[in-house]
C-alpha cells in the first residue's frame, strides 16, 4: 500500500518530463556536444590559463621532483598531474601549453586561410596562365615534406612562436587554395554568376558578393579540420626543438623532455599527450559537424 502510494508521484513526474526531455535533447542534437565538451577545457586553459593554474608553470622545486599524480599517492590535490624532473607542476604546464597550441594553430590556420582562399579564388575565377602558375606552386609546395620545410624556415628565421606560425601558414595554405579553387570553378558556372555578368557586375564585386559567400563554407570546414593538424605540427616542431623556446611551454616540448623518464615517470608524456589527443579529436569532430551542418543539401531540409 505505502509503496504504491510513494511510487505514484514519481511515475507522474517521469511521464511529464519525458517529452520535455526529448525536446531538450532534440535541440541539443543540433549542437556539437561532444566537440564542445572536449574543447571547452582546452579553450578555457588557453584563455584563462594564469588564473586557473595552481603553480607557476616554470617554478622549479627540486624537493618535489618526479612525483606521480598526487591523487594516486593519497596526497590530495597537491599535484594533479604529478611533477617533472625539476619539480615543476605538470598540470600547470599543460594549462600553459594550451595557450601556445591555441595561439599557434589559430594564427597559423588563419593566415593560411586568408592566403589560401585568396589564391584559390583568383586561380579559379580568372583561370588561364595565372591558374596554371598558382596551382603548380601549390603542387611544388605540397611535394615538400612539412618537417623539412619547417627545418628550413626555422634555420632562416630562428626558432620561436612566430616561426611555428609561419611554418603552419606555409604548410597549410595549399589545402585551402585547392578546395576553394575547385569550389570556385563549380560556383562560377552557375547561372547566378552569368546573371551577375549580364548585370555588368565588375570582377571584384562578383568575387566578393557572389563567389566568396558560396565557397566560404568549404574553407571553414578545411579550417576546422586543420586546427587539429596544426596543433599536431606545432607539437612535432616543439618536440624537435624548433618550436617555442623556454620559458614558454608547449605540449610537444613537454613530451620531448620526458623522453628520458618514459619508463619511470609515465605521467610526464601522458598528460600533455592526452591534452593533444583531446584537442585534435575535438577539432576534427567539430569539423565533421560543421561539414554536415553547412552542406546545402542537408541545410535546406
Amino acid at each position: 500500500m505505502t509503496e504504491h502510494h510513494v511510487d505514484m508521484p514519481a511515475e507522474n513526474l517521469s511521464a511529464e518530463a519525458g517529452p520535455r526531455r526529448a525536446a531538450f535533447f532534440r535541440t541539443l542534437g543540433d549542437w556539437p556536444i561532444l566537440p564542445i565538451i572536449l574543447l571547452l577545457p582546452i579553450i578555457l586553459f588557453g584563455v584563462f590559463g594564469p588564473l586557473i593554474s595552481p603553480y607557476d608553470p616554470s617554478a622549479v622545486n627540486p624537493a618535489v621532483a618526479l612525483r606521480p599524480p598526487s591523487w594516486l599517492t593519497g596526497d590530495g590535490l597537491a599535484h594533479l598531474f604529478g611533477t617533472d624532473y625539476l619539480g615543476r607542476d605538470v598540470f600547470s604546464r599543460v594549462i600553459a601549453g594550451a595557450r601556445a597550441s591555441l595561439l599557434v594553430s589559430f594564427f597559423g590556420v588563419g593566415i593560411a586561410g586568408i592566403v589560401g582562399i585568396t589564391v584559390g579564388l583568383i586561380s579559379g575565377y580568372f583561370g588561364g596562365w595565372l591558374d596554371t602558375v598558382l596551382m603548380r606552386l601549390v603542387d611544388i609546395q605540397m611535394s615538400m615534406p612539412a618537417i623539412l620545410l619547417a627545418l628550413l624556415i626555422s634555420a632562416a628565421l630562428g626558432s620561436g612562436l612566430v616561426t611555428v606560425i609561419a611554418v603552419i601558414a606555409i604548410v597549410f595554405w595549399t589545402n585551402y587554395a585547392r578546395v576553394v579553387r575547385a569550389e570556385t570553378l563549380s560556383v562560377k558556372s552557375r547561372d547566378y554568376v552569368a546573371m551577375a555578368r549580364v548585370l555588368g557586375c565588375p570582377d571584384v564585386r562578383l568575387i566578393r558578393r557572389h563567389i566568396l559567400p558560396n565557397v566560404i563554407d568549404s574553407a571553414l570546414v578545411v579550417a576546422s579540420l586543420q586546427l587539429g593538424a596544426a596543433v599536431m605540427l606545432e607539437a612535432s616542431l616543439s618536440f624537435l626543438g624548433l618550436g617555442v623556446q623556454p620559458p614558454a611551454v608547449a605540449w610537444g616540448k613537454m613530451i620531448a623532455e620526458s623522453k628520458l623518464y618514459l619508463a619511470t615517470a609515465w605521467w610526464l608524456p601522458f598528460f600533455p599527450g592526452v591534452a593533444l589527443v583531446v584537442t585534435v579529436l575535438g577539432t576534427n569532430m567539430f569539423g565533421d559537424w560543421l561539414r554536415d551542418k553547412l552542406d546545402p543539401r542537408l541545410r535546406n531540409t
Binding site: 547561372d191 547566378y192 555588368g200
Partner: protein, 343 residues
C-alpha cells in the same frame, strides 16, 4: 519601328583539340552557331526555336555578351557590341537584361531578395549624377516587386524560401529594375508548372505593352513561342533553317524540319490521328556537320542534291526565308523543285 538588334553572319566556333598531343594535333571546330543573320524590330517579340544542341542558347549568350562570336557582327541600337569600351559595356548592361530558365539557379542562394533585385541599381546607379540612396533603392525594389505581383515581405526572404513561380518573378523584377529596352528570355517558363506558365507569360506581355520592350525568347517549346513571339526563327545545328512571321509559319511551315517540329507538338485534340513518325534519329553533332544540307540525314524528303549542296536561306516572299532545296529559288534546285512540291 526601327531595328533594335541586328545579327550579321554571326559565328561561334569552339576549338576542340583532336589527334596527337605531341604536336601535329589538328584543331577541329565545334560549330555551335554557324552563320546566323536576322534583325529584330524595336518593340517586337522574336522567338528562336530549336532542339537541344541547335545552338539557340549559345546565340543567347552571344547576344548577352557572355561569350564573343568568332565571326560576324552583332549590332544593338546601331552600335557594334563587339567593340564596346568600358563605358559602352555599362551602357549595354543597362539596356539589355535576361531571364534564364532555372530561376533557382539564377538567384544567388546567399542573398536576400532585396539584395538580389537591388543589385543592378547598386552596380549602375550608385555612382555618377543620378546616384540613388539606400532608401530610394529600397523603394524602387518594393515598387518593382509589386509590379511583378510579389508582396513586400518577400524582400527579407532567401530564394529557397520561395516557390518556382515566385523565384521567376524575382528574376523578372531584377531584369526590369533598370528599365532596359530588351530582354533575352532563355526558356523563361520551361521549368515552371503549366499552371504558372500562363501567369508568367502574361506578366511578360504586360511589361511589353507598358514599356514597349523588345523580347528575344529562346525556347524549344513551339506552343509557348506561338503565344509570345511575332517573328520566329527555327534553328538546326547552328544555322537558321526557317525564319518569318510566327503566324504564317504556324499556318504553313515550309522547311521539312519545321514541319517535323509541328508534327511533334502535342495538341489537345483526341481525334487527331498520329501522323507519320515526326523525326528520325537525333540532332547531328556540331563537330561533324553533315555534308550538304545539315538536316539531310533526318529528312523524309531528301533529294540527291541535298547531300551535296548546302542550301542558302532564300526569300520566299512576305518576309519569309527558308533554307531548303525543296523550296529554294536557286538555279541549282529548280529542276528538282517540281518533284518536291508535287508531293
Amino acid at each position: 519601328m526601327g531595328t533594335i538588334l541586328e545579327l550579321r553572319d554571326v559565328k561561334r566556333y569552339f576549338g576542340i583539340r583532336s589527334g596527337g598531343w605531341v604536336g601535329g594535333g589538328g584543331e577541329k571546330p565545334l560549330k555551335a552557331v554557324d552563320g546566323a543573320s536576322f534583325s529584330i524590330a524595336s518593340g517586337s517579340s522574336f522567338g528562336i526555336a530549336g532542339e537541344s544542341g541547335s545552338g539557340k542558347s549559345t546565340m543567347g549568350k552571344l547576344i548577352l555578351r557572355l561569350d564573343r562570336p568568332t565571326g560576324g557582327a552583332i549590332e544593338f541600337e546601331g552600335r557594334d557590341i563587339g567593340k564596346l569600351d568600358a563605358e559602352g559595356d555599362a551602357w549595354y548592361r543597362t539596356r539589355v537584361q535576361a531571364v534564364f530558365q532555372d530561376a533557382s539557379g539564377s538567384l544567388d542562394p546567399r542573398m536576400r531578395i532585396l539584395a538580389i533585385v537591388a543589385e543592378p541599381l547598386e552596380i549602375h546607379a550608385r555612382t555618377g549624377p543620378n546616384r540613388l540612396g539606400k532608401a530610394e533603392i529600397r523603394e524602387k525594389v518594393e515598387d518593382m516587386l509589386a509590379q511583378v505581383g510579389l508582396p513586400k515581405r518577400v524582400m527579407d526572404n532567401y530564394p529557397h524560401e520561395l516557390s518556382g513561380g515566385q523565384k521567376q518573378r524575382v528574376a523578372i523584377a531584377r531584369a526590369m529594375i533598370l528599365e532596359p529596352t530588351m530582354l533575352v528570355l532563355d526558356e523563361p517558363v520551361s521549368a515552371l508548372d503549366v499552371s504558372i506558365r500562363a501567369q508568367v507569360l502574361n506578366l511578360l506581355s504586360d511589361f511589353q505593352d507598358r514599356y514597349g520592350l523588345t523580347y528575344l525568347m529562346i525556347s524549344h517549346d513551339l506552343a509557348t513561342l506561338g503565344h509570345v513571339s511575332s517573328q520566329l526563327a527555327v534553328m538546326y545545328l547552328g544555322r537558321i533553317v526557317e525564319i518569318g512571321d510566327t503566324e504564317e509559319i504556324y499556318e504553313r511551315p515550309l522547311h521539312p524540319y519545321t514541319k517535323a517540329l509541328f508534327r511533334a507538338m502535342p495538341l489537345p485534340d483526341p481525334n487527331r490521328k498520329k501522323s507519320a513518325p515526326s523525326l528520325r534519329g537525333e540532332i547531328g553533332s556540331a563537330l561533324d556537320i553533315p555534308k550538304g544540307c545539315r538536316f539531310c540525314p533526318r529528312c523524309d524528303e531528301a533529294m540527291p542534291v541535298c547531300s551535296a549542296v548546302d542550301p542558302e536561306l532564300v526569300d520566299v516572299g512576305a518576309g519569309r526565308q527558308v533554307a531548303c532545296h525543296l523550296i529554294g529559288g536557286s538555279q541549282h534546285t529548280k529542276a528538282t523543285h517540281q518533284r518536291g512540291s508535287n508531293e
